[in-house]
């Protein structure tokens, strides 16, 4: 089961994903980067049905790029979030995409934002969010530790605590994780665990 969490800080968004790719009982690889860049300052973390994840993310990313090419200007995070939700909603009653997503982005004018979407085309703007079994263990932990002026070090500490909890209490906890930050300078890897 995919593990994704996101934390919005003062002027950044931190996202963490596990890095295992498996097919039923077989582990295919343990170093799969599932945090996908949409453009220089936005990422998708998509969990769910194998084919739908990649198909849907590539479809949205292509359309975001098309908009930028056509109009000479990039979409902001809110627009991408609402557009993605719209696509999920349109497909819902015919051939739904079975994906849960986190969208993390940084806009020059409005700063960092984190959006949580699910396969029923729910959209919420959140300070902390997660998908999968792992999120059951980490969200209440984040509730206790989050505050509006969160620094990068505090956020990394939160994620470390979350990962530790998951490893301790989840029967099939993924062994390896990657943590990325999105801020005014773009997307970069903070660390791998």
């Amino acid at each position: 089961m995919d593990f994704f969490v996101g934390i919005k800080g003062k002027d950044f968004v931190l996202v963490c994903s596990d890095t295992s790719a498996s097919h039923s009982i077989i582990s295919i690889k343990q170093d799969e980067d599932k945090i996908v860049p949409i453009d220089s300052h936005k990422v998708f973390c998509i969990a769910g049905e194998a084919g739908d994840r990649v198909n849907f993310s590539e479809y949205v990313i292509a359309n975001v790029k098309l908009y930028a090419l056509r109009n000479g200007t990039e979409l902001n995070t809110k627009s991408v979030a609402n557009y993605t939700r719209g696509e999920l909603a349109t497909a819902l009653r015919s051939s739904p995409y079975h994906c849960n997503l986190l969208l993390a982005g940084y806009d020059k004018e409005t700063g960092p934002s984190l959006y949580w979407l699910d396969y029923l085309a729910t959209l919420n703007r959140v300070n902390t969010g997660g998908t999968g079994y792992g999120s059951y263990f980490t969200l209440s932990l984040f509730d206790k530790m989050w505050h509006p002026e969160l620094t990068l070090d505090e956020a990394v500490a939160m994620i470390d605590a979350g990962i530790a909890e998951v490893k301790k209490r989840l029967v099939v906890a993924p062994p390896h994780y990657i943590i990325k930050v999105i801020d005014k300078d773009g997307i970069r890897v903070v660390k791998t665990v």
Binding site: N71, T73, L75, N76, K78, S79, N82, Y83, G86
Partner: protein, 235 residues
């Protein structure tokens, strides 16, 4: 050339490389009442003559300047009914954009989409080009903007321009008067003076229409009383 069994496009090229129907459409525009627009540092103003065919027409029901979105307004010269069709389409385009992105459509994009519609009608069978030129005024993250869209589908961004009957004189007047530092209040005065140049009779709030958008990004058509106030300042 147009046999009844075939629905040729009316806009087929002439030997000299012109599309004659578009030329004629531009003539329809040039016969229409004068409209103009001025882009200022902190907003845009558009204005038009509201010349009615008879004194018996109830002028309070005639609206030549229309709002497309809360931050984009438009005025025309040419055929009124054609204008109303384009306004409907533009409003729908703007709402579809909002529904998709939950953000208001940028001015330049609405202009492009509307121009694309007008171009379609120059390359489709069984239709004729729109007999209007539009002046679209809006305020978005790129600041105040003014665009002209022609029946051919070509569009231009202007600092100040005029279309319709008196456009040559009006444009010459605007060229002399326009400056890059002009604010919205001065722009309204200049617009009224420009209209006055070619106007037969006395300007008043009931025979012209003025639309303004400022930094509040809210397009407003001025009331008759407001127009009269501005006219008094200009006299």
């Amino acid at each position: 050339m147009a046999e009844s069994q075939y629905s040729f496009s009316l806009t087929t090229f002439s030997p000299s490389g012109k599309l004659v129907q578009i030329e004629y459409a531009l003539n329809a525009v040039a016969a229409g009442a004068t409209s103009l627009g001025i882009s200022a540092t902190d907003g845009v103003v558009i204005a038009t003559e509201k010349k009615l065919p008879s004194a018996l027409v109830d002028e309070t029901t005639v609206q030549k300047i229309m709002t497309i979105t809360p931050s984009i307004g438009v005025v025309y010269s040419g055929m009124g009914p054609d204008f109303r069709v384009l306004v409907r389409r533009a409003r729908k385009t703007a709402q579809a954009y909002y529904q998709m992105y939950k953000e208001h459509i940028p001015v330049a994009q609405l202009v492009r989409e509307t121009a694309a519609v007008m171009q379609e009608f120059t390359q489709t069978g069984g239709v004729r080009p729109f007999g209007v030129s539009l002046m679209m005024a809006g305020y978005d993250d790129n600041g105040p903007q003014l665009y002209q869209i022609d029946p051919s589908g070509s569009y231009f961004a202007w600092k100040a321009s005029a279309i319709g009957k008196n456009m040559t004189n009006a444009k010459a007047f605007l060229e002399k008067r326009y400056s890059d530092e002009v604010g919205i209040e001065d722009a309204v005065h200049t617009a009224l003076l420009t209209l006055k140049e070619g106007f037969e009779g006395q300007l008043s709030g009931s025979n012209i229409e003025v639309g303004v958008i400022g930094p509040d990004r809210s397009f407003k058509v001025l009331t008759e009383a407001e127009v009269n106030d501005y006219l008094q300042e200009v006299e």
